[in-house]
Amino acid sequence: MIPLLAAGLLYLMASQARHAENPRDKLLPTPTAMVEAVQLMAKVDPLTGHAPLLVDTLASLERIGLALVIATALSLILGLGLGLLPLLRAKFGPLVAAIAVVPPIAVLPILFIVFGLGETAKIALIVIGVTPVMVRDLAAHVAAIPEEQLVKAQTLGSSTWQLALRVALPQAMPRLIDSLRLSLCPAWVYLISAEAIAADTGLGYRIFLVRRYLSMDIILPYVVWISLLAVAMDVTLKLIARRAYPWAYPERGR
């Protein structure tokens, strides 16, 4: 907390110094200017009938939310399959590894051409960006379940299906949530990149739009807002994982 406050204080001092020299400085806006800008963005625009801040937030959250749901579902299915079935791993493991190496942003033009400039391309970019890493992480985790456990389950009469459902799946879930949390940051990067290039709403679209007017008084609060949203998602996932899978997070020290 203290470093954060110190950074804020440093900013205030720098901002004040610049404004003392040039009252119309745009690079380091004062807190008052930022509050006014946010109020303006949060108000309904009579021309469009929407409040930009709300519309941007909803659009971005919808894109990233949908993309993460798809990515997580894909990762769960592929990760369990690759982790549990050596034959599948031998056939498709290298393919996933190869796809994971392709920089997703380099694929973006292809996505725009194939899916058009609409929502699909942006969601596809995030999915393509985070899924391979999550699949590989989960597959490695599932493959590392000790053989003793699998044999034990079989000696208790477990079929392969029951083994996947009752042994592998529950042990994969907390790991999947952890890897989803780690994927939040790249997911936001891909979202904002896609929005910056082609969009008409979205948090990333807005900050790249107002950049043309050097509107730091809008950009800075938006960046803080994006960070807050990312932190909120991270904390929510963390709480869900600890509540649903308490065995995976034994308390340290007795």
């Binding site: 044999v151 000696t155 208790l156 477990s158 029951q162 009752r166």
Partner: protein, 254 residues
């Protein structure tokens, strides 16, 4: 020979490496067979054969007069030194797992009255191994001795024809080990189990077993040590416990 488990001229080879040669044994129902021998003498391979993780290259293994299925199944229970219990299930759910698998092929989990009956059965089993008060604990919260008690309860719930123990007490403190000796002896006696136990501890082998098998290589070729496999070089039936002492094995492995 009419034993519960018979080995007829069993060989295990990997390529030109011979691991087990000419194993010819008959295990009687109700016996407690200890298996000792130096490292690399095929004890583990012998156990893996019985579990079904491994197939004999030559020869035949019969269980109850039928050919032994070469995959793990509920007729052979097993307790490993480590990783025998499922970390994501409470003690009670660990024990119920076998009943869940037997009763619910699709979901792998019983429900309603059948689940309650299964839970009662599991509670009785937990009480039998002295874990009645720990039924809601996850394995991570249990000591090594408690985890092995749980692994035994879990293996016994499906009433296996043979219980296989792979160095089950190897990682435990001496005091805890003595408690476990008492537990396994009384379970064996009260339930008429047939037990096969691999151990490094020769004293333990003679203390618990009604029969001690010592595995080693009968012949050695210094130029091609892998060309000769191990087999049961000593076979001590202990009619009265303590009739043959550990000193009888003093010459082993020389």
């Amino acid at each position: 020979m009419g034993g519960l488990l018979t080995f007829r001229n069993v060989w295990v080879e990997y390529g030109d490496k011979v691991v087990l040669e000419n194993v010819d044994l008959s295990i009687q129902q109700g016996s407690f067979v200890s298996i000792v021998g130096p490292s690399g003498a095929g004890k583990s391979t012998f156990l893996r054969l019985i579990i079904g993780q491994e197939k004999p290259t030559r020869g035949a293994i019969d269980l109850d007069g039928d050919k032994l299925r070469a995959e793990p199944g509920p007729d052979r229970g097993v307790v490993f030194q480590k990783y025998s219990v499922f970390p994501h299930l409470s003690a009670r759910d660990n024990v119920v797992f076998g009943l869940d698998c037997a009763g619910s092929p699709l979901l792998g989990k019983l429900s309603g009255a059948r689940r309650r009956a299964a839970l009662d059965e599991a509670d009785a089993m937990l009480a039998a191994v002295g874990l009645a008060d720990s039924r809601d604990l996850y394995p991570a919260k249990m000591s090594g001795g408690m985890q092995q008690r749980l692994a035994i309860a879990q293996a016994l719930i499906r009433k296996p024809r043979i219980l296989l123990l792979d160095e089950p007490f190897g990682a435990l403190d001496p005091g805890v080990r003595l408690d476990m000796h008492e537990l396994i002896t009384s379970l064996w006696r009260d339930n008429g189990l047939t037990i096969m136990m691999v151990t490094h501890d020769i004293k333990e082998a003679f203390k618990l077993g009604t029969r001690v098998l010592a595995f080693d290589k009968r012949r050695r070729d210094p130029h091609a040590p892998h060309r000769y496999g191990a087999t049961a070089v000593y076979d001590f039936p202990l009619d009265k416990p303590g009739a043959v002492g550990p000193e009888a094995l003093a010459g082993l492995g020389k």
